[in-house]
């Protein structure tokens, strides 16, 4: 019996091996065919160009830039006509590019526009998204029941602390400072923020600060700290006093 089982197992392994080998061969074939017929990445980029006759949002973006830089006059209408072509040629001449009036990869790069639909990002961009995300979590955890401006104000207090010499100098440093925010102690910071909280955090990051530099806030109905209650209240919104 044992031998039989082993034989069976060996047969099974063989079958499996044959199947895997067949699959690998098919996959390799498909991959090979795809690679043969797939145009190179350079070709893809070169294929997407803007030239006379092109229309659309991308043309408009390019025209807006050319107008701003003084190469083109008038308004950005999204149509690549002879005037736009002349402006592109002027731009290319002044920037040491081949002056053919066609916006290919190099000209687009010099203009700071992306010809592919993908938006350009950088490592620092993900950092700003992280800031927004963390700030939105604090807003939701601390003030989701508050009026919208009260939510912006809470986010602004976090950012004011970052700017203040008396607190840590990063958003995470301020948020996770021991005892600084209740939502960190009770875990509510881990709740998923809603759109309002995200918008409020974004407003604060964009500079809106209804508190004009406040570093603290408290709920006068529940606060017990004498020190906190003795501070001059600069603004009251919803359930929070800001100081």
């Amino acid at each position: 019996m044992k031998t039989n089982i082993n034989q069976f197992e060996q047969n099974g392994h063989k079958d499996l091996f044959v199947k895997i080998a067949a699959l690998v061969m098919v996959f390799a074939f498909v991959l090979g065919v795809t690679l043969v017929f797939l145009p190179s990445s350079g070709n893809v980029a070169e294929a997407a160009v803007l030239k006379q006759g092109s229309t659309g949002t991308l043309v408009k973006t390019m025209q807006t830039k050319l107008i701003r830089w003084g190469y083109l006059t008038g308004t950005a209408d999204g149509v690549f006509g002879p005037k736009t072509k002349a402006a592109v040629i002027l731009f290319q001449k002044r920037n040491g590019l081949v002056a053919d009036g066609i916006v290919g990869t190099k000209t687009a790069q010099a203009m700071g526009i992306s010809l592919s639909s993908a938006t350009t990002t950088s490592s620092s961009s993900s950092a700003s998204s992280t800031d927004l995300n963390l700030l939105a979590h604090v807003v939701y955890g601390e003030a989701r029941g508050e009026p919208y401006t009260g939510q912006v104000a809470v986010a602004a207090v976090v950012l004011n602390r970052v700017k203040s010499s008396s607190f840590p100098n990063t958003i995470a440093g301020v948020v996770y400072q021991y005892g600084a925010f209740d939502c960190v102690s009770d875990g509510q910071i881990n709740l998923t923020p809603n759109q309002n909280a995200i918008n409020a955090a974004r407003d604060a990051l964009n500079g809106w600060d209804p508190t004009y530099g406040c570093l603290f806030y408290y709920n006068p109905k529940t606060a017990t700290s004498k020190w906190m209650l003795s501070r001059t209240v600069k603004l009251s919104i919803g359930n929070h006093n800001f100081c």
Partner: protein, 459 residues
């Protein structure tokens, strides 16, 4: 019959007894199993709790011992600085102090935020680092350390000793087996050691220098809000005039703002959305407006929306009394376009006096204004004429700019302002380079980042 009748009774009793015994045994066995399981899990939990506590202790201890060794470095380097005579050595030591202060700031952040002494200690290390950084920049620029600078550095060195002693105070308890995490924690003792920093008796020098943590920035005057004092009713009327063609309902007075900018606060609905506005008590300017009104998940095509939003922002700014404004930046994100406007004086963009206007892309209606920078900074400036031309300034760039340079007054560290030429450059991304229009030196460089959640920003 009796016997025959009794026998089954006895066997029933016996059966019942066996049954009860069986059930009892079963229950006892279950109890033993249950207790064993509970004991096992509680032991597990205690062990997990202890693991977490040990990990927390490790985090606190690392921060504490880094603080202690960093404090020694601060004092030593400040002493060396007080006798150093060459710029290279001074610069090197100043950078050492700056980096030690940054490390200290990070580690202090691990401890109690609500303790006043801790906050004062945090302020000390932040200002010391910032001040050293500012002096290092000054030395790099060819300037010499003044007598006052040296005196201030010596004073900061003395304070570094006080700071080090404060950190050391808890070491006695730690030697006796005290821990930061868990029962009988020394956290409170550690925090209270810094009380001396919060005492008014401490001889703390006034730290006025070119840096973001300078004392000069703590109390600011809104120089642009110097008009006549208004009553609450007048301010409310003024707000309604600013929003005259908009649907404003349920306007309510929400108290007075007592910060650096004295203002009247109002809540209301603007086109059906809840909104908040602040009207300056002196002069009646709209300092801040904010409504929830965008928030559309996807922004409409940026370029089309951008142009109409910019026009709407400029029109609204004009209505608010902000004259000669120009669009300097606009950023579109989640259905809202934030347009940055700056005043122009003598063909120069005044970046310090920015007014931000938030426009809803759907209908190009203004839903937010932030005129704080304008309120604090805008004044009639007697701008000097540049000493170099835009062409000369362009020669200082490492890559050729796109378009011509333009004059811009930009804010720098602290509350300094510098007249510069602004150049836009493209090289694997967009840069804005600012060349000092007097000296030809690079004053600042901004790099544009794009992000779907925060839009395009120059940082």
């Amino acid at each position: 019959m009796e016997n025959t009748n009794q026998k089954p009774k006895k066997s029933k009793k016996q059966n019942a007894g066996k049954w009860i015994a069986g059930v009892t045994m079963g229950l006892m066995a279950s109890a033993v199993v249950g207790l064993s399981v509970a004991l096992y899990y509680s032991t597990e939990q205690v062990s997990t709790h202890e693991t977490y506590q040990r990990q927390m202790e490790a985090v606190y201890s690392r921060a504490y011992y880094d603080l202690l060794s960093g404090a020694s470095d601060l004092g030593t380097n400040l002493r060396k600085l007080s006798i150093s005579s060459t710029p290279t050595m001074q610069q090197s030591l100043l950078y050492e102090v700056w980096s030690a202060a940054e490390l200290a700031e990070n580690n202090l952040g691990v401890f109690d935020a609500e303790d006043e002494g801790m906050r004062a200690a945090q302020k000390f290390v932040n200002q010391l680092g910032d001040y050293s950084h500012s002096l290092a920049l000054k030395v790099a620029d060819g300037e010499k350390l003044t007598k006052e600078d040296r005196a201030k550095l010596r004073k900061m060195g003395e304070l570094a000793d006080v700071y080090k002693d404060a950190i050391n105070k808890v070491s006695g308890s730690l030697k006796k087996g005290g821990t930061f995490a868990g029962d009988n924690s020394v956290l409170d003792e550690f925090a209270s050691a810094f009380n001396e920093f919060a005492e008014p008796s401490i001889d703390y020098p006034e730290m006025i220098y070119d840096g973001p943590f300078s004392d000069a920035l703590e109390e600011r005057t809104p120089v642009a809000l110097q008009g006549e004092e208004m009553t609450e009713e007048q301010a409310r009327m003024q707000l309604l005039i600013y929003l005259k063609d908009r649907d404003v309902q349920n306007i309510e007075y929400a108290g007075e703002g007592e910060g650096d900018i004295k203002c009247f606060n109002y809540t209301f609905t603007l086109d059906g959305d809840r909104a908040f506005a602040q009207i300056g008590k002196f002069g009646g300017a709209l300092v801040l407006l904010n409504a929830m009104g965008g928030g559309d998940a996807v922004s409409v095509a940026h370029v089309e929306a951008g142009e109409t939003c910019q026009t709407a922002a400029l029109d609204f700014a004009k209505r608010l009394g902000f004259e000669n404004m120009q669009v300097v930046w606009s950023c579109s994100c989640h259905g809202e376009c934030v347009v940055n406007l700056a005043p122009i004086e003598k063909d120069t963009i005044l970046y310090s006096d920015l007014v931000k206007v938030k426009v809803r892309e759907r209908d190009s209606k203004v839903i937010g204004v932030d005129a704080t920078h304008y309120a604090f900074n805008h004044k009639k400036r007697n701008l000097s004429s540049p000493k170099i031309t835009a062409q000369e300034a362009a020669k200082m760039l490492s890559i050729s700019p796109v378009g011509e340079g333009r004059l811009a007054l930009i804010p720098l560290r602290g509350n300094r302002e510098v007249l510069t030429y602004e150049f836009e450059c493209e090289s694997d991304g967009t840069y804005f380079v600012y060349i000092d229009a007097m000296t030809g030196k690079e004053a600042n460089i901004l790099y544009v980042i794009s992000d779907e959640n925060t839009g395009q920003r120059a940082i």
